[in-house]
Symmetry: C2
Subunit: 411 residues, 2 copies
């Protein structure tokens, strides 16, 4: 991260103390999966809680994903257990059995049925869980030898317990009338979600039916978590779930969706800014596109380009790399002569670049957040109209730090 007064990150985020809504209990602790840092988080929800989830589409997705997708299908959940430092992926039938046992053990601790438990796990791929330790730990928790649940639990404590190479806990909160929406997330690498995301757990005390919650959550995830890309790699373990306890009663549907949007977008920006080795948050907005899907493809091409990412890192006003990244989207209605490229407010194409613009640009690239704005200028139906397809994506620069972190992860 670029130096900030509080030793923070690209966005200058100060991690606040935020509680989950009433009714949500929290336990965090150390099982000893890999080392002595916290590696288990259990979030409990009151009876009657509605739930929805979106999951990775990876063909190598882990047993946690398979099991949780099945468990959330009925729109109900009572607990989320997250084990970190081990993804339990590519571990064969033993791995499947282990994930099922973790759900069982958690159900006993929380006092609910196994199909009401959502299991998530991230960390190294291809290594089995140390089941003896997990069993012993859960047994101590059940018998009261380990401290059990705080209620309402601290979202900040929960977000801290699920971190792997994250540099700070990711928490966000918003209001929807009388109800609160509180979310936590983790993830800094292997992140380009597709239909799903890194780990994110969103809680609310609003009341909602499972079908509405599911539809609303998919829309929100699509424009937030699915719009982040750190390194084009898609995890085997991604999931985002939302739990609605109903304690605050029914709230206006649009207000709830807006609050979910606010929380998920806030977490999305935190995830991008905390990308492995990242020093700069890159926001790419593409508009004037045929439709939102085209805008998204072009925006992803730009935010994923290692040459754009390194140029931002080097504060190098090499805008031609943005043109290159647009150019590799092979679509007939993308024509160089209709395109406008801006960095912040400064137009760099087609307007000729003056030395003054260049100087401004270099200064702008030193900011903790860089906005790249491309208008594709695709003509609309009216005589002077442009198409209105647009999309915004979130990423980060590519640094020596990313290489160092990832050249040396398991060893």
């Amino acid at each position: 991260m670029r130096a900030t007064p509080h030793g923070g990150n690209a966005l200058g985020i100060v991690v606040r103390e935020v509680a989950f809504p009433p009714g949500f209990g929290l336990h965090t602790g150390n099982i000893g999966i890999k080392d002595r840092t916290e590696d288990v988080m259990i979030l409990s929800a009151p009876p009657g809680t509605t739930a929805a989830g979106v999951f990775t589409r990876s063909r190598f997705s882990g047993p946690s994903v398979t099991l949780s997708r099945a468990h959330v299908a009925d729109g109900r959940a009572r607990a989320v257990v997250i084990i970190s430092k081990n993804a339990n992926v590519a571990t064969g039938p033993v791995g499947d059995a282990n994930a099922a046992e973790v759900a069982d053990l958690t159900a006993q601790v929380v006092g609910c049925n196994t199909p009401e438990v959502i299991v998530a796990s991230t960390g190294v791929i291809g290594v089995r869980y140390p089941m003896d330790r997990i069993r012993a730990y859960m047994h101590r928790l059940e018998t009261g030898e380990e401290d059990a649940f705080d209620e309402p639990g601290s979202a900040t404590t929960a977000a801290t317990a699920i971190m792997t190479t994250d540099t700070h806990a990711k928490v966000a909160a918003a209001r929807a009338g009388p109800a609160r929406v509180v979310g936590i997330a983790k993830g800094v690498g292997m992140i380009e979600p597709d239909m799903a995301t890194m780990l994110a757990v969103i809680t609310t005390d609003a009341a909602t039916d499972p079908a509405s919650l599911d539809a609303m959550f998919r829309r929100v995830v699509d424009r937030t978590f699915n719009a982040v890309s750190i390194d084009t790699d898609t995890s085997t373990s991604d999931m985002a779930v939302v739990l609605a306890s109903g304690r605050a009663g029914r709230v206006d549907r649009d207000a709830l969706e807006a609050a979910l949007d606010e929380v998920c977008l806030d977490l999305t920006r935190q995830l991008a800014a905390d990308g492995e080795g990242a020093e700069t948050l890159i926001v790419v907005t593409v508009d004037g596109a045929r439709d939102d899907a085209q805008a998204r493809r072009v925006a992803k091409s730009i935010v994923n380009s290692p040459l754009v990412k390194t140029a931002v890192h080097g504060r190098d006003p090499n805008w031609g790399r943005v043109a290159m990244a647009v150019g590799k989207c092979y679509e007939d209605d993308i024509l160089a002569e209709r395109i406008t490229i801006r960095f912040g407010e400064a137009e760099v194409y087609p307007a000729p670049i003056t030395p003054r613009v260049l100087e401004e640009l270099e200064r702008y690239l030193a900011s903790p957040e860089v906005l790249i704005h491309v208008n594709l200028g695709v003509p609309g139906d009216g005589p002077h109209s442009l198409e209105t397809g647009s999309f915004t994506v979130y990423g980060c620069d590519l640094t020596d730090g990313y290489v160092r972190i990832n050249a040396d992860y398991t060893t």
Copy 2:
């Protein structure tokens, strides 16, 4: 590059002195496009030369690409002019006119017609050619004030003149009966060709008709230059052309295709090994696929994964990242339980990894060339048969060097 005794590169390539086939003349020199290093190469071919070319599909492709595609369409060419340090891309109508003038000036120097000239250009995007200098230089060349053409020219000298951030000249040669095939190439970044490639010029004195040469060259490029990926970025200026002078007469068609294959594959490996900042050549072979296209998609996903690339760089036996890269190919017949993953000869999945295998793997990852082999195990029609789709791609590791080079290119 990893240290090699001769200060070479990942492949330990020693650049040899190779001549073009008889009849091909060469001029190289300095126009002063950016600095005092060589920035122009003109290759002349004898009357009657047959030609074919493949070009970038970028929607921001430069005027050199547009003009050369048109000029080679009739299967004939007499000259290739390559200007480096400036791509002449995103330069508007003035850039179009400048490319046409470069072709004109070259035709006058070589003594051929303008439509017989192929123009290529690489370097920074969005900056106009210094046309005054180009005109003055070409004039001196035409009037004999500058040394004109060596015949046959040195391919090594030509390959050196077209380098940008390349660390060594890329030359390859092979025989097809009495004929020779000699190729040069350049390119170390912004390289994931699609239908085309970085700059490559292949010459031969074999005789062939334009249609056969075109079909043959497209097949060869598809399994060689189109199989290299350094950083997923696709240049606005890529092209590969082949010129056949016919001086050595007709040769066996299969022998000629084999010689073209040999030369283009050799250049492909040199390009991948000399990727910006690269220390290790990564070769990924995928087989047991539904068809070659599926094998190519999976192989590209692996060779392009920044997490796989950094793991190889760190000599980190984190094979789970290969599983992840396979997993993000969302195809129904890719099933984790049918897949085998090998590094070199060592199976890492599904066979459990013993400490001895892990040690071997760490040693293997220190080699200058790392082979990753994935069998998808897609069942074939027979009772015990597997599908035979396969493809091999060439890439390189991701290093601090890549970040440093690209964070500081134009400035």
